[in-house]
Amino acid sequence: MVRVILRRLIQLVVTLIALTTLVFFWLRSLPGGPVDALLGERATPQTRELLTRALGYDQPIWTQYGRFVKNVVTGNFGNSIRTGEPVMDVISRSFPATIELAVAAIIIAIGLGIPLGYIAARYRGRMLDNATIIVTLIGISIPIFFLGYLLKDLLTQNIHIFPPSGRITTGMDNTDVTGFFVLDGLLTREFDATADALWHLVLPAITLATIPLAIIIRITRASVLDVLDEDYIRTADAKGLRNTTIRKRHVLRNALLPVVTTIGLQTGALLAGAVLTEKVYNWGGLGTLITDSISGGRDYPVLQALILLAAVVFIVVNLLVDLSYAVIDPRVRVQ
């Protein structure tokens, strides 16, 4: 395992170097850019010059690249163009929001997906099974931003059950410890804050969970069906084991292998889904940050950092999946 981890780390470094360079030069080649973004309609040509000089865009590209690399190495990605604060602050602020959302979604997706998938498989070909399949197919075919939009309109406008947006009620003035509002509430014993945060979490989490849920259901179902025709299940039957034992020990355990992989893949997809969900629910996370950094004024410093972050997250998730895989599948473990 150590070797695997090491290899991942090396990969990580290589990817990052490649990406940074690529992104840096690409962004510099685009029209508009920081100068344009920093100046409002009122900028005079003189100000433009000042700014170009101030940002060192008058210097040769290689000097700029050198400076950029020097900063990045020291963990400094510059300041956001939109808000002027250090990129690292912006990101470390948005990160917990997205994680909170993603975790909630994954919990829903796994918590419902595996049981439902298993049940569907057990009642293969019956009404229940077919129903599940149709629903999951629709779940995959619906544009989730629209789903979110409908949920929001229905449950926050027509019937005011849930809050329309954000992570916590305005003016709640909760104490920020970790940036995970639910957690913070518990740590600081501000239980109303926790409840409120959970409350805001419901709709976005459901929206974000839709696709992974549908996929996990389908995979679980398929793989349970595969396992059920396996010889070792027949053996287990021949042993006269109790049904429950067979299901828990023999069927589920094996059926989960492909599901774990899928979950891994889906966590990746969650990042993408988050972009849409967060826009719908004005959720101050990475997703919003990405959209804002693009449409809200080509905030290249932030974009650069985000692209790198995406790569890092993704590779880390891989690692976790591999580890979890090794835990449940002995065949991988020994290799």
Binding site: P143, F146, G268, A269, A272, A311
Partner: protein
């Protein structure tokens, strides 16, 4: 384990899934499989439902000018007459679905929408397929360092979640046009197709009829073109069917993020839903509901067909 030290094992898992799918759909290869796969498809109701939906969609798309009552971009005085930014006239004589936010005939736009959506979906899929297949074929047929290189490339691409990659590409494009969107969505699929084709070509390489052909001293080029490619393509076709659905959904998502096709004259369902549909949801919900339903149906159609094709081609299900 990630073959030749891949960029990420999730990519590997994706890859593994793709390759095992390939193995299933193409190992037995050969006409016989395809024939009785076809037979099984015809017996499979879900497949038929999918096929019917797609057929309907194609008909509307192709014959849009005949079906549609009006030109989709023309503004009609009778509609603009009582059109304001906060009220959009509904059904009137000659305009069964009433107006869109610019006084154009909504019905016609829905119908032409099929055409544009087909256009986007097909191109995005096809471009992805084309590059994917070429890369995959080279990797699979030539092998060696070229193979390694291409596979590393696809690894990197698989490392980013698809929509995220598309968003980034659009953001990094110097100008935004319909093509930016199409290409962004297409690029996402290149690695998948490449993997797919390569995988199945490798499977082919070991398969009996190829070995036989080689034993008979058939030229390598002919083996690749006559024997390996045709059989491998079945897998690719299945994937393409599924990709189409994803493509139109991604296009819609981009429009919603304001990164889609900027020309709102173009009647494309994703665009109509992502821009007008959302903006005028409270003024006239149909502007959102109809395109959304259309998208869901078409996506559903392609998914249904694709999934059942995959199942049908899966030798495990042969009896």
């Amino acid at each position: 384990m990630s073959g030749i030290g891949g960029i990420s094992t999730l990519a590997d898992h994706k890859r593994r899934r793709i390759e095992e799918l390939t193995a299933r759909t193409s190992e037995a290869g050969g006409v016989s499989l395809i024939r009785d796969a076809g037979r099984r498809l015809l017996r499979n109701p879900t497949a038929m439902v999918g096929a019917i939906i797609i057929l309907l969609f194609l008909i509307i798309a192709i014959f849009a000018p005949l079906v549609a009552p009006h030109d989709p971009v023309q503004r009609f005085p009778e509609l603009t007459k009582d059109l304001t930014v906060d009220s959009i006239p509904g059904a009137t004589a000659g305009h069964p679905l009433g107006s869109d936010p610019l006084g154009r005939d909504f019905a016609s736009r829905m119908i032409y929408g099929a055409r544009q959506t087909l256009f986007v979906g097909v191109l995005a899929t096809f471009i992805g397929l084309l590059f994917g297949v070429v890369l995959g074929a080279i990797a699979g047929a030539v092998g060696g360092w070229l193979d390694v290189l291409i596979m590393r490339l696809t690894d990197v691409m698989l490392a980013l979640p698809s929509l995220l990659l598309a968003i980034t590409l659009v953001a990094l494009a110097s100008r935004s046009t319909q093509w930016t969107v199409i290409i962004a969505v297409a690029v996402v699929n290149v690695p998948i197709f490449a993997r797919l084709l390569r995988g199945s070509m490798l499977a082919q390489r070991e398969s009996d009829h190829v070995l036989a052909a080689r034993a008979l001293g058939v030229r390598r080029r002919d083996i690749v073109l006559r024997h390996m490619l045709p059989n491998s393509l079945t897998a690719v076709i299945v994937q393409a069917t599924l990709t189409f659905a994803v493509a139109i959904l991604d296009a819609a998502a981009l429009s919603f993020l304001g990164l889609g096709d900027p020309d709102i004259n173009r009647a494309e369902w994703g665009l109509m839903l992502g821009v007008d549909g959302v903006r005028y949801f409270e003024v006239r919900p149909e502007l959102a509901y109809l395109p959304a339903l259309a998208i869901i149906f078409v996506a559903l159609g392609f998914t249904l067909l694709g999934e059942s094709m995959r199942e049908a081609l899966d030798p495990k299900n042969r009896r």
